[in-house]
Structure formats: structure tokens, C-alpha cells
Amino acid sequence: MGAFAPWSGITLFSGNLMSNRLFKEKMVERSLFFTALISLLALAGIVIFLFMEGMPLFAHYSLTDFFFGELWYPAEDPGVFGILPLITGSLAVTLLSSVLAIPLGVLPAIYLNEIAHSNTRRILKPFIELLAALPSVVLGFLGMVVLAPFIQSAFGADTGLNLLNAALVLTVMTVPNICSISEDALHAVPNSLREGSLALGATKWQTIVRVVVPAAVSGIGTAIMLGMSRAIGETMVVLMCAGGAGIIPDSLFTPIRPMPASIAAEMAEAPFGSDHYHALFAIGIVLFVFTFIFNIVAYRIAAKHRQVGTSSL
């Protein structure tokens, strides 16, 4: 801290002090730069360690059997590590929750930004953000003790812990994310567009549907992709609510075992350094790649979004 003190005496413009100061400026910039690299390093570290622990499986287990095998018997000798049911389980629960979460997230965003009075917005928006902050374990807990018994009795399902249950809880988790990013996108639509449309005689509703939403569509796309990324990676909810059967879902009421649930449930049981241990890290790689793709797509859309201004419409 003390090293910065001499700067207060900047009335002295001696050459020595100037170069000293330049040197210090450089040092500050350098050290900030290296600190900023930590995020990249962390990301690289995650990739490196996932691969280091996941790849040994493929030394003697084929990639095709891993990705397209339908059976998961990790404790047998030799183990059977087919993750197709896990991948389809993850995709099914993600898609189902997205189908529900997209309207539930985008419509409130439109309401908040286009229709609601600014005071209503100031009150409502924080509540939706608080919903986003609910810890996943609490939602998973409620899904398990409240929603699952309800689904079981209401639909006569074999078990309430199933695809539908997990998807509904995931919807609650992703809606606020989709809502607040969509809202930002709508907020970024220039007012001149709305005024132009209204001046041409369009109603407010027509303006929203034909002008504002199309102008914000890429931002809404980003919101949806990020929501899906969140849903596919969410662990506690699928661990507690999805049932945990390693089968390819064929109905809404099939119990499933998405990838994060397998990792969380079995990591503790897998003997260290065994094929099973490596296989769980390999699932981690697959999960990471999925979310990575969702994120890249999301930011690709967002980057495009920036170029969409008044001029391109």
C-alpha cells in the first residue's frame, strides 16, 4: 500500500519521478492483467482436470460403447458404462423445462418492460430476481416432498419422482433467468422504434408483437440458451426429483437419471482411480461440453444482437 503514497506529490515533475511513475503504471497494469487471467486459468484448469481424470477410461473402453451404450453397470467387473440413457434423460428434462420456461420467462419480461408502470416494474422485477436466487437444494427438497406425491396421486404415476417432476422444478429455476435476460434485451430496443410504429397508427399490442419483440429476438434467444445451459447442468434438482432410473424416457412419468444426478449420486461410491471413477469424470466432460456449447451459442447470438440497431431494421 505504502508504495503508492509518493503519487500524492505530483507537483514535482522531475524526469526521474515521471519515469518512476510510468514504471509503476506499467506494473499496476501488468499485475491487473495477470489477475484477470485467473478466470481463464480456472477454466483451463477445469478442462485439464476433467480430461486428466476422465480420459483414462477410454484407454480400454470404446467411445461408441460409452456414448451409445444403453446399460450402466459401473460396479461390475469389467464395468459397463453406457451413458445414452443419461444423455437422453438430461436432454429430455432440459427440453421439457424449456418448453415450459420460455413462455413463463419471456411473457413477464414483455409485461415488465412494455406494459407495466415503472413503479410496478421496480417492485416486480426484484421479486423475480429473488426467485432466481432460491437455492437449488431447497427447490429440490420441495419437489421431492410436495410436488412428487402430488404428481403420483394426481396422475396415477408409478412414482412421482420422474421426468415431469424434475422438469417442473427446473422450470421454476430457469424462468427468472430467462425473464431477466429477456427483459434486458427488450430494454435495449431503442424507443424510436416504438414511437415510429405507434406514429404509423399501430396499436401498442401490434407494436410489441411486430416491432419490439422481433428487434429483441436475438437477446431473447440468448436468454433461452442460457436458461437451457442452467437447466442441463443443474444437479440437486435432478438428483432429488428425477427418480434415478437409468432408462431412456418414453413418457412424462418415466423416472430418469440425468448426467449431473449420476455424478452426484455415485462419485462418493466410486473407488478412487477405478474405471467407474474415470467414467464419472467422463460424464463431467460431456456435461461441460454441452453447457459450453449452449454458452457459446448464447454469446454468438448476443454478439449478433449488438449489431442490430435502428439501421438494420
Binding site: T159, A245, I247, P271
Partner: protein, 279 residues
Amino acid sequence: MSLGKVLGVAVLGSALLAPLSPATTQAASQVVINGSTTVLPVVQKASESFMAAHPNVALSISGGGSGNGIKALIEGQCDIAMSSRLIADKEVKAAAAKKVNPVSTAIAFDAIVPVVHTTNPVKAMTSAQLRDIYAGKIKNWKEVGGKDAKIVVISRATSSGTFECWNELIMHKTRVMPAALMQASNGAVVQAVAKNPNAIGYIGLGYLDKTVHGMTVDGVQATPENAVTRKWPISRELLLYTNGQPQGNVKMFMDYMLDPTKGQKDVLAAGYVPMPVKK
């Protein structure tokens, strides 16, 4: 206000953390116990009375699973590994590579009990029927004398010690069908069965409570006596693994655990079967 403020936060941070990290970097007084959720209730019960008797020793207990416990023992991350199965060959090799010598001590007997919903009319089964249900050959309760309803099969995660035991003693290496609901713990199985009139599951004797009904198998009731005499077809020993012969605080706890007037009473209280008294 200066840029140093940011650094100041870091300094403050290390200052706050400092009291948490005394010169002794190793958890000298904390005995770390990790492993099987089946053994856990016994050890937890005993640990409470043990810590009351020895206030200067802290026990830390996690229930990651048998594999996790043994892994932690090999990695030197725990002092005692709880296991509901014998150590695997691979684990023995891994231990040897790290110069760890796992020594097992049996502390109790456990019986694995098939359970159904309390309203289920089916109260008895043969081990062959159980095997066929879990293999997916018997799919409806009416095939075993119950009402006409699909059987909801609930199993433990394939890598749990309980599953392994079930696999060996009931399935005889026939595969449990993938459609079985895999639960991560005994408690979760009890939960799932208690909530579902058509479900069947299996749990450690210690988890048997009023919310589910324990079935007889091959005409034998799951009782502590039957478990010790091995009349009950699905019973096993619960083990604690240590690195070499137990010493210090660890030995103190192990001795406590095996004492018929102390730890073994907790075994009984937790619903398991105490070790037969050696003559």
C-alpha cells in the same frame, strides 16, 4: 481511498483466516470418519456418546459411501473408513501404491430387508421371486399373490455396498434391470417405498421403521438373532478400515465401539446387530 484498499481486503482476508489455520496444519484432534451410509447410523450414534465421554476429541463423519471412505483412507484424508463390503482388489493395489495398509475391524452385523408399502398384502417372498422382480421378469404384483398393479422396483445405486450385497446374495450376478429406480441412500429408499403402494425396495435393518413393511424371505423373519446365525439369507458384517492397527484417538474410538457396554449398545440402539461376545 486507494488502490491499496483492494489489497487491503486481501490482507484483511488472510488476517481473518489466520486464526483458523494454526501452526499445526493437520487436524490433530479431529478424527475423520468417512464411508458407507449403512454403517453411518451406528458410528454416528456411538460418536455422540463417545464425544460426550471424551470432550477433547472431535469426530467428523461423512456418509459418502463405502468406495468414498476407502478412497479417502488410501489418500490419507480420513482416519477410519466405514464399509459395508470387503475392500476390492483394485483398492488394495491402490493402497499398496500409497503405502497404506487397510486393516478391517467388524463392528456389527446388518441384515438387508426387502420392504414394501404398509398396505401391500404381500408380506412374504422367496429369494427367487425377489431375484425375478429385480431382474424385471416378474412385473406385476398379482404374479406374487398381490393385487393387479405394476411393481415399482426401487434399488440402491449400483456402486453402493448394499447393492453389492444384494447383487451377490439375491441376484446371484443376474443384473438388476435398468428401469429400477436407483436411490442414493437407505433413507431415500424408505422414503420412496413409504410413499408408493406399489413399490418394493431393500434397506439395511437399521433403517426399518413403521413407515414401511419388512417382508419375510424364504419364511425367515429379519431379526437380529437370525442375522447373527446367518439364518437370514441376506446378512453381512459392517466394517471399519484403518491404516494399520488403530492408534491414539482412533484406537480409543475403536475400543469404545467394540466395548459391549458402550459402542455395542449403540449398535443395538441404532437397529443393528451387535457382534457376538467372544469367549
